[in-house]
Symmetry: C2
Subunit: 131 residues, 2 copies
């Protein structure tokens, strides 16, 4: 049950606005990225929110992995994103895959400021470290 949970809060993202607004495109990107980094996608669920004028207003999404999950939420009006990549290492050391996936997804948003953390999961007396 031991695993690695990577957390990022991304501020002032300079990526194209569509990358914060287009649920289908973001879903495709996240799924392809997971697969590219050797993780096993067992499902995906991305939802687009709309504002009072029925305009796209943000995306929330989850990619369910055999190795656990990726979750992502965008705030286009704030140019912000929150990201979680959690992999368990029970059957293989997926930490390197998780870190490279995490880095790739973060890079795609071109955040001016990124706050990242790591949480060791599944251990008794888990350690938490901040970056």
């Amino acid at each position: 049950m031991n695993g690695l949970h990577l957390i990022a809060d991304l501020h002032d993202c300079r990526c194209p606005p569509a990358h914060l607004l287009d649920a289908a495109a973001l879903e495709s990107f996240c799924v392809a990225s997971c697969e590219r980094h050797g993780l096993t996608v067992v499902g995906r669920l991305f939802h687009s929110f709309t504002d009072a004028q029925q305009q796209p207003a943000g995306v929330t999404g989850a990619v369910v992995l055999a190795e656990s999950h990726l979750a992502l939420h965008t705030w286009p009006e704030l140019r912000g994103v929150t990201l979680d990549v959690y992999v368990c290492n029970y059957s293989a050391d997926n930490s390197a895959r998780a870190r490279s996936l995490f880095a790739e997804v973060i890079a795609s948003f071109a955040a001016t400021h990124a706050e990242t953390k790591e949480v060791a999961r599944g251990h008794l007396s888990s350690a938490v470290s901040g970056d």
Copy 2:
């Protein structure tokens, strides 16, 4: 973008085994629990893993919320569960709802040992505290 992310690693769960193995039942429980605590379910995706003998071997699931997400993974052979409840407080203070949902889901597993953490999300220079 400010939010509260609650994390739990549950060990030696004494709940009925079905609560760790039955993806459909666990999905129904999690969705109902989210709704009962005033959160808005916009989607759900639960997946059952099978072992070499095609027997149920664990569940991984995500409930996508308007307020962010719940994610859960079970390890029946270890009687273990990892749980994440993440809500953003951007439009309402969802912290109380998140905490009561988190407590209810944790209680359902009857863990002998539970490690919990809270992570403040979306802030610049986020604080992390361990329980």
